[in-house]
């Protein structure tokens, strides 16, 4: 079939909400965009382990430590599901990791902020995982089969992440005045970066229209951001904490909360690599990868030895 017919068939297929599978014909630009999107998503999962990993050894109780460990382990799994989905498009995982480690690939800018007190772990679960869920749930219905299936697994595991974070916030907000102050401080620092997680405004998001046509993006950045705010404000009220936005107020007419201007200079600055922890995050990733080299090599050597022994026994 000629290219134009294939394209027509692909477009109809996607418009019909059918899934594209790895061996189906797809336009090059769709494949490239997906590889970029899925790998960025995968990178975000594993870089996202670092700010929280910082607190595993310092969690305030054994129970909290076990929960945080389970959560961070889930994020590693999410990375794996997503790298696997990307690989079905014809890239090697090692190439993707290389792009992350040499700075060519991006990941969510939220993970370039530091976790300086225990309440930050609460704020991350509640806000960052909350925003991630808002982004991820629609993707369970995206047009690329392996990506959609990976997102279903991710979303199933994700909901405990948000709850455990909210519970940390709740405990601290209902605790001593000092604990409540720590929770408020964490909210103050994580609120705006969480809103930035949804990406630039629709007006400044030039590729969104194509991605929405391809159904690898199902709602616009501004739509998802608004939904997140509408969902989160009442939760902050339950906590008795104040969202650090003097312009935040319910708009009866719109049926949504109005909110203040996001500091986009900060957003673009962090993306460019100048956030508080960009360098540290990549360095930690690179070190983990390099220090793990001997383990990967030893595993191959061991596997080869085991295979050779099996062959010997079979020949004898």
């Amino acid at each position: 079939m000629e290219e134009q017919n294939m394209m027509q068939r692909f477009d109809d297929y996607v418009a019909d909400n059918k899934k594209i599978e790895p061996k189906d014909w797809m336009p090059d630009a769709y494949r490239k965009t997906l590889i970029r999107q899925i790998s960025q998503h995968a990178h975000s999962e594993i870089v996202g382990m670092l700010p929280e990993g910082n607190w595993i050894t310092r969690a305030p109780s054994l129970k909290r430590k076990a929960i945080l460990l389970a959560k961070v382990q889930d994020e590693a799994g999410h990375g794996l599901y997503l790298y696997s989905a990307a690989e079905t498009l014809g890239v090697e995982r090692d190439e993707l990791l290389e792009e992350l480690h040499d700075g060519r690939a991006k990941y969510s800018s939220i993970f370039n902020y530091p976790t300086i007190n225990w309440a930050d772990i609460g704020a991350i679960g509640w806000l960052v995982d909350g925003a991630a869920i808002m982004n991820q749930v629609p993707l369970c219905k995206c047009s690329y089969g392996p990506y959609a299936r990976a997102m279903v697994r991710v979303c199933k595991e994700e909901s405990f992440h948000q709850r455990q974070g909210f519970q940390i916030m709740l405990n601290m907000a209902k605790g001593t005045p000092e604990q409540k102050q720590m929770a408020q401080d964490a909210l103050n620092r994580w609120w705006w970066p969480s809103l930035m997680m949804f990406g630039p405004t629709d007006a400044n998001s030039p590729h969104s229209a194509q991605s929405m046509k391809w159904k690898i993006k199902l709602f616009s950045n501004d739509e998802l951001r608004q939904r997140f705010i509408d969902m989160t404000v009442p939760q902050a009220e339950v906590l008795g904490l104040t969202i650090p936005d003097p312009d935040l107020k319910w708009n009866e007419e719109r049926g949504h909360y109005d909110f203040g201007e996001i500091n986009w200079d900060e957003f673009y600055n962090v993306i460019k690599g100048n956030g508080p922890c960009n360098k540290q995050r990549i360095e930690t990733r690179r070190k983990a990868y390099d220090n793990g080299a001997w383990v990967r090599e030893a595993a191959v050597a061991h596997a080869e030895k085991r295979a050779a022994r099996r062959n010997e026994t079979a020949a004898a």
Partner: protein
């Protein structure tokens, strides 16, 4: 030592006794035994299964999407293979 990438394995899990194994995803591992161990860690953390198969991805032969018409359209006009094709008199209550 030269760099060798671990091969890709497809993972299949039986969620409960009595059900068949179902494809859940894939992972890289040095060999099949390690693939089983890793599959346990990533795909059964919440009691999703009680039996795991791992298959080297390169051992799978798949039909090609281009063959779809040749393979599946012959079944299109054989509606008599479905029980709904047959009209039964009302008197027959169960069949």
């Amino acid at each position: 030592m030269s760099k060798k990438n671990w091969p890709l394995f497809e993972v299949f899990i039986r969620s409960r006794q009595g059900l068949s194994h179902k494809h859940v995803g894939s992972l890289h591992a040095a060999d099949a035994r390690m693939a089983i161990e890793n599959a346990r860690d990533v795909y059964t953390r919440r009691m999703e299964g009680e039996s795991i198969w791992v298959v080297p991805a390169e051992a799978i032969t798949a039909s090609s999407p281009d063959e779809k018409d040749a393979l599946y359209t012959p079944a299109d006009d054989k509606v008599y293979r479905h029980p709904t094709f047959y009209d039964l008199p009302d008197e027959v209550k169960h069949m």
